[in-house]
């Protein structure tokens, strides 16, 4: 079965550094998302992306965050200057249908640790 892949699985960085989290969505999917889960907290929506632009972003997704689909396969999340509170598991997700039957396919996540 096709799956969403994310790299790296773990990322350790120093506060203030830039990080790029990478995702390869399922090949025929058109809608892409980033979610995150801080340890012990709920999974939270960050941003949705369609047709090479952001469709919606949450309050968490401030100016330090950006997303890009640099080629036909990758979907990236960049954090420009990381903060301690950015430490979390970041999940990429995708789906193919423009419906509100929201079956999203999630990757295994990137555990980001900001020191």
């Amino acid at each position: 079965e096709p799956e969403v892949t994310q790299t790296p699985s773990h990322q350790v960085t120093q506060m203030g550094q830039e990080v790029i989290l990478r995702c390869v969505p399922i090949s025929n999917h058109l809608y892409f998302y980033w979610y995150r889960q801080i340890l012990g907290q709920k999974v939270e929506f960050l941003v949705s992306f369609y047709n090479n632009e952001i469709s919606e972003k949450s309050e968490i997704f401030d100016d330090q965050f950006s997303v890009e689909r640099p080629d036909g396969s990758n979907f990236t999340l960049k954090i420009r200057s990381t903060k301690l509170e950015d430490s979390a598991m970041y999940f990429c997700a995708s789906n193919s249908e423009r419906t509100f039957n929201e079956k999203l396919f999630f990757g295994s996540g990137t555990q980001l640790s900001v020191l």
Partner: protein
Amino acid sequence: DQQVKQNSPSLSVQEGRISILNCDYTNSMFDYFLWYKKYPAEGPTFLISISSIKDKNEDGRFTVFLNKSAKHLSLHIVPSQPGDSAVYFCAASAGPNYGGSQGNLIFGKGTKLSVKP
């Protein structure tokens, strides 16, 4: 602001018995509900969903019940198997007519289910 609440952080059941996971929500605009299962070191995997126009949806051993008046849904697993041991997330979304948007799911904090052999 917990729009979706899973008040039991953990649940332990015996193999072969029924597992009942509960979820409450506060936003009456939610019209679609999902359950995701998550194993360690993996992402959430879709399990089953239900539209607000229904009160029950069944898929094999998994049944989701929706009580709109009580703003409550539950996931029943019968019979429970050790492989069902995982964290179960309840999630909800609101359609476009109710301020929702594509892919913006509101998750609960999850319930860790342990099925003992």
